[in-house]
């Protein structure tokens, strides 16, 4: 297992290097530059040239590239051209929100998708299966922003059941310790002896999680349904029944253990897509996550920020995939031993 991980990490190096080169070139191909973003659209060419000179953008590209990579290797992700903040600082401030949102969406998608898929498989081609199919088609077809605003309108504005703004109520004055709203809320609850901050943080994450999780919910449901139906027809399931095992054990141990394999693969892919796709949800629910920051940085031609953020996302995506592969190997002994 250790060798497997080492091999994967080594294989990641050329991918990340290639990506860094492409990123470096592509952000510079965009029309405009950071100077005009800093100075505004009425800046004179002379001032723009001065700013570019000051930012070091007039030097040859390869010099800029190697300087950037050199700093990266020293753990320096650079600073924003526009407001001078360090990428690392802003990242640590914003990334927990994105993680929390993504985890919430995954929790929703897996927690609901797997039971739904199993029910649909058990009643395949019946009425319940049809209803589940419609629900998942619904989830996959509705754009996140439509679903997000609809949820916010009904459950927030009309019914006043759930908050629709941010991931925590700032008036509660919860101190930022980890920057994860739920963890900070739990800590505040423990110290203050009141459940309010924790409940508030949970309530905040519900609607964004549903909005972001609707597509993975549909995907997980469909894959679970298909996997369960396929596995149910396997010979070893018949063997399990012929041994006199209860349906519950046949279901949980013999069918689901095998059905988890394709489901795990899909969850891994979805988790990566969610991290990257959180931007719309963050916008709809006014969450200060990483997604909105990437978009702002692209708009401002904030080269260093875009480069570093996308690279960090790539690393996270790789780590998530590695975790999924390890989980897959854990579930599938045929992979583990080969």
């Amino acid at each position: 297992m250790a060798r497997f991980i080492v091999r994967r990490v080594i294989a990641a190096v050329p991918v990340l290097l290639g990506l860094s080169v492409l990123l470096f070139i592509f952000v510079r191909l965009l029309p405009g530059g950071p100077a005009s973003a800093i100075l505004g659209q009425h800046a004179t060419p002379q001032r723009i040239a001065d700013v570019n000179e000051a930012l070091g953008l007039t030097r040859p590209l390869y010099v800029q590239y190697f300087e950037y990579i050199g700093r990266l290797l020293h753990g320096d992700f650079g600073s924003s051209y526009v407001d001078g903040t360090k990428v690392v600082d802003v990242f640590l401030l914003r990334f927990p929100s994105t993680i929390e949102l993504t985890m919430g969406a995954l929790f929703f998608a897996i927690g609901l998708g797997i039971p739904l898929g199993r029910i649909a498989a058990r009643h395949s081609n019946g009425l319940i299966d049809g209803i589940v199919t419609v629900i998942s088609l619904f989830g996959i077809s509705i754009p996140v922003f439509v679903l997000g605003y609809t949820l916010a309108f009904f459950f927030g504005v009309q019914l006043h059941w759930l908050p629709t703004f941010g991931l925590a109520d700032p008036t509660l004055g919860v101190p930022a310790v980890t920057n994860f709203p739920i963890i900070d809320g739990a800590l505040a609850s423990l110290q203050g002896g009141t459940t309010a901050p924790f409940v508030d943080a949970i309530a905040h994450v519900i609607l964004p999680s549903i909005a972001l999780g609707s597509i993975p919910l549909a995907v997980v449901t469909r894959i679970t349904r298909a996997a369960v139906i396929e596995v149910s027809n396997e010979d070893y399931v018949r063997t399990a029944r012929a041994k006199g095992l209860t349906e519950k054990r046949v279901d949980n141990r013999h069918i689901m253990r095998n059905a988890w394999l394709p489901v795990t693969t899909v969850i891994g892919l979805e988790a990566g897509a969610l991290l990257a796709g959180a931007v719309l949800t963050e916008t709809v629910f006014n969450i200060n996550g990483v997604g909105s920051w990437v978009v702002d940085s692209i708009r401002n031609h904030d080269y260093v920020v875009v480069q570093s953020l996308v690279l960090i996302f790539a690393v996270i995506f790789m780590v998530v995939n590695l975790i999924v592969d390890i989980g897959y190997a854990f579930l599938n002994p045929r992979i583990r031993y080969s």
Binding site: R238, K243, G244, L245, P333
Partner: protein, 360 residues
């Protein structure tokens, strides 16, 4: 009282292409410790008959139309699901054709064996594990303690089938149904597995139903044989009788299409011409009539019942010397059976009736 008594079993499958008449009124008896072979080509209903007895027909398509399967005095088709579950694996165990796919690939052998034992006996996991080790040793798996921790893919095909046998015998069942247990194995391994199976069954006085398309396997393993065709039992006899004096044209065809070591060089195999009937059609007449050289007009209209031959009065359905019975209107003579074709001057197989004749 017989151990198992199946009577007038009819199984149908509802599919998108129509109803499949898989088993059409099969009856047979089995005594304790007896070995019965079920022979026939693919799709003749041998496996389905036994899946029906176990109530493990593929759902929702397969269902038991009528009939009964009385096991130790109770009709398996009448008892509730939990009572049936108690019988499965404990009193009636099954071994399936392909040991590659019959063991769960993601669970250790240990878990698959222990869960079987613990499903039926109130024993600790530790005791069940001890029993599993003992069973693996019994079927000839070296280092059973170590191999118990392995996964199915770490075993060879023959070893896997040994594991299946160990699992099937874990609870000392009274009846073991072996569905093509050696079909997926190398020929050299086949003999070992069959020898093991028959030795263990004999030691425990376990009755065995051996499903196979291989007459050679039946010859060495069983005391009695049912020959099945298109969902019917067409001939039943003591194994030695069946080989010495096959009565049904289909059995004769099977025996002649079997490669023999004592055949003259260059002597051709005689295949059975034609194909089995489409089981989506409700059976009319004898299902073998379209392929039968002995067919007479009546064969196209009526299915003959299994009748006793040799003029024996009392019909023995089971035991070492059951009455030789055959379902045929025009039974070939022993000489014809040796020739594998009719030997009567001027005789031609009756052609299928025309539409006009059927209408009349």
């Amino acid at each position: 009282m017989h151990l198992l008594s199946v009577s007038d079993l009819v199984v149908r499958f509802r599919t998108h292409d129509g109803t499949v008449h898989a088993v059409n009124g099969v009856s047979f008896d089995l005594d304790e410790g007896e070995t019965l072979g079920l022979v026939g080509e693919s799709g003749c209903g041998k496996s389905v008959t036994n899946l029906a007895v176990m109530r493990l027909l593929p759902r929702p398509a397969g269902h038991i139309e009528r009939g009964s399967a009385v096991f130790e005095g109770q009709d398996l088709f009448e008892i509730d699901e939990s009572a049936m579950r108690d019988i499965r694996g404990k009193d009636i165990a099954m071994i399936f054709q392909d040991p590659m796919t019959s063991l769960n690939p993601v669970l250790r052998i240990e878990e698959q064996m222990v869960e079987t034992i613990r499903a039926h006996r109130k024993v600790s996991t530790k005791d069940a594990r001890e029993r599993a080790i003992e069973l693996l040793g019994m079927v000839g798996i070296p280092q059973p303690e170590k191999r118990l921790r392995d996964y199915p893919h770490q075993f060879s095909g023959g070893m896997r089938q040994r594991v299946m046998i160990a699992m099937a015998l874990a609870l000392e069942p009274k009846l073991l149904i072996a569905d093509e247990p050696t079909t997926a194995l190398d020929v050299t391994i086949q003999a070992q597995v069959l020898e093991l199976l028959s030795r263990l069954a004999a030691e425990r006085n376990t009755a065995v139903i051996l499903i196979t398309h291989d007459l050679g396997v039946v010859a060495g393993m069983t005391r009695r044989v049912n020959v099945m065709y298109a969902g019917f039992v067409v001939e039943t006899a003591a194994t030695s009788d069946l080989f010495a004096r096959p009565l049904h044209p289909y059995t004769i065809g099977l025996l002649h299409s079997m490669p023999r070591l004592d055949a003259e060089e260059g002597e051709p195999l005689v295949p059975i011409e034609g194909v089995p009937p489409d089981l989506r059609q409700a059976p009319v007449g004898c299902p073998f009539a379209p392929r039968c050289a002995w067919a007479i007009d009546r064969c196209w209209a009526d299915m003959p019942a299994l009748g006793a031959m040799d003029g024996v009065v009392a019909i023995e359905t089971t035991g070492a010397n059951p009455t030789h019975r055959v379902a045929c209107w025009n039974v070939p003579t022993p000489d014809e059976a040796r020739l594998a074709h009719p030997d009567r001057p001027g005789f031609h197989a009756a052609p299928a009736p025309t539409v006009a004749e059927i209408a009349r």
